[in-house]
């Protein structure tokens, strides 16, 4: 009898066993990897779907606001801020209640405590020059030479409609040039605005603004309009105090009035009449156009374990004859991570 007739030797058997084990392990690994990849794809799709659901639900609350002329911390929409729903955390920010690094006049920085927001050695004139050289500012990296990241994140946002009565004249030139695609249109608009300023004239209504713009109106509106720019109910207290204290607006008892507004906004939703009553000003005072009760740009951040989305929405200002029409919101940006 030869050896092969005796069956496999131990070594041959072991080699075969090792070979089969390697094959089985490879097959198992492949199946597991494919399964994990498919699972990750499904989980990511589910995570995004959950976020979309939360965004839709929050948007429904915004649209169903029974007091559309006032956005405050008492609205159902604001209750989404800090909420966790279906594993998604939600964060809201009233963007247009922040200072706009493009539109704010240099004088407002220079004559108020807002000058302290600049990094040491930087000032509003340098910011203006930078904007003139590089165009309107859009991200923090545009502003990093002027403000710290923390200051920028707390006090500034480039999102907001500009009010014709308070916007910086150089910013308006650049904005109109961008909107119309014509530098000369920008310069012409600035010259018209200088005339308004020289005559101490204030455009109080959308119809007056329409007449002022002439044929350019359709391109310029709603980016520039006559609505108060910031929502007093979300504006940072230091910003409110600083702007109300600006000597140019001759507001007596500014510090006291700031405290009054801050206390009122903690107790209930404010109306435009509340602002008028507390400040004792009306549409004939430029200060009126800084603070209103509507947020024009909102940022909604929704995040879960697998995905995150930042959506920026804007509200169209009421236009002329349609001032009583229901509010309309539009998505301006949607960024997924």
């Amino acid at each position: 009898m030869n050896r092969t007739d005796d069956g496999f030797s131990s070594i041959e058997f072991l080699i075969a066993l090792v070979f089969l084990s390697v094959l089985a392990a490879a097959a198992g690994y492949t199946i597991k990897t494919a399964g994990l990849a498919a699972g990750r794809r499904t989980a990511a799709a589910d995570a995004r779907a959950q976020i979309e659901k939360v965004l839709d639900a929050a948007a429904e609350d915004l649209k169903a606001d029974p007091t559309p002329l006032s956005d405050s911390r008492f609205d159902a929409f604001w209750q989404w801020n800090g909420m966790t729903e279906n594993g998604c955390s939600v964060k809201l920010r009233s963007l247009s209640s922040s200072l706009n690094p493009n539109f704010l006049r240099t004088g407002v920085y220079e004559k108020t405590g807002l000058r302290n927001l600049f990094l040491p050695g930087k000032n509003a004139q340098q910011l203006l020059q930078y904007r003139e050289d590089n165009g309107l500012l859009f991200t923090f990296s545009d502003c990093k030479d002027f403000f710290s990241e923390e200051t920028y994140g707390t006090y500034f946002s480039p999102y907001g409609w500009a009010n014709i009565n308070i916007i910086d004249e150089f910013a308006v030139r650049r904005l109109v040039a961008d909107l119309t695609g014509s530098d000369s249109d920008g310069e012409m608009f600035r010259q018209k605005m200088r005339t308004l300023l020289a005559d101490k004239q204030i455009l109080q209504t959308e119809d007056e603004f329409k007449m002022f713009c002439g044929i350019s109106y359709d391109k310029i509106y709603p980016y520039i309009n006559t609505e108060p720019a910031m929502n007093v109910q979300f504006v940072e207290p230091d910003v409110l105090r600083s702007i109300l204290s600006d000597a140019d607006y001759n507001l007596s008892g500014a510090v006291q009035k700031t405290k009054q507004l801050l206390a009122l906004r903690e107790s209930r939703e404010l109306t435009e009449d509340d602002i008028v009553n507390v400040l004792g000003i009306n549409r004939t005072n430029r200060l009126y156009y800084f603070f209103g009760t509507i947020t024009w740009f909102w940022q909604i951040e929704v995040q879960n374990d697998a995905a995150a989305c930042t959506e920026i929405i804007c509200r169209m200002p009421p236009s002329g004859m349609n001032s009583q029409a229901p509010a309309e919101w539009y998505v301006v940006e949607k960024k997924w991570k």
Partner: protein
């Protein structure tokens, strides 16, 4: 007595056998040859499909990262060879160059917009080999007043 078979094959039998073996060989060769050609073709198709998927994904991802400020109405992208150049990538003014996989040649690029308003996406036509493909992708930003909430 010895049987015929024990006497060996006749000449005719050998010839017929050779013929049959040749025919079978030819059929086998043709089959293998066709099989290998098919495999090569499938591999080429697969490579094209992968390149197409990569290209589509790169274009969509790049377009989704474009955040044009809401006040900007004029926008231009540059497309040449295998590269696309996007201004306002992630909101930054600086132009971002995006390279497509090798072997992909951009044929045409156009902005997607309505009624002469600010663009909200791009449409890129490109060739992989002789085939032409098109990918349309939306930007991460939309002109104000276009996409209703």
């Amino acid at each position: 007595m010895r049987s015929d078979s024990e006497n060996g094959f006749t000449f005719i039998e050998v010839l017929v056998s050779l013929l049959i073996i040749s025919l079978v060989g030819m059929v086998l060769y043709a089959s293998f040859s066709a099989g290998f050609r098919g495999i090569e073709k499938s591999k080429a198709e697969m490579r094209t499909a992968v390149r197409r998927l990569q290209t589509d994904s790169i274009i969509r991802s790049a377009a989704g990262s474009v955040r044009i400020p809401y006040w900007i109405t004029e926008y231009e992208i540059t497309a040449a060879g295998e590269t696309l150049e996007f201004p306002w990538y992630d909101g930054e003014k600086e132009i971002k160059t995006v390279r497509l996989p090798s072997g992909v040649v951009i044929d045409k690029s156009e902005l997607v917009r309505k009624d002469g308003e600010a663009p909200f996406g791009i449409r890129i036509t490109y060739k992989i080999g002789k085939r032409e493909y098109t990918t349309s992708a939306a930007f991460g930003s939309f002109p104000a007043g276009k996409v209703k909430l």
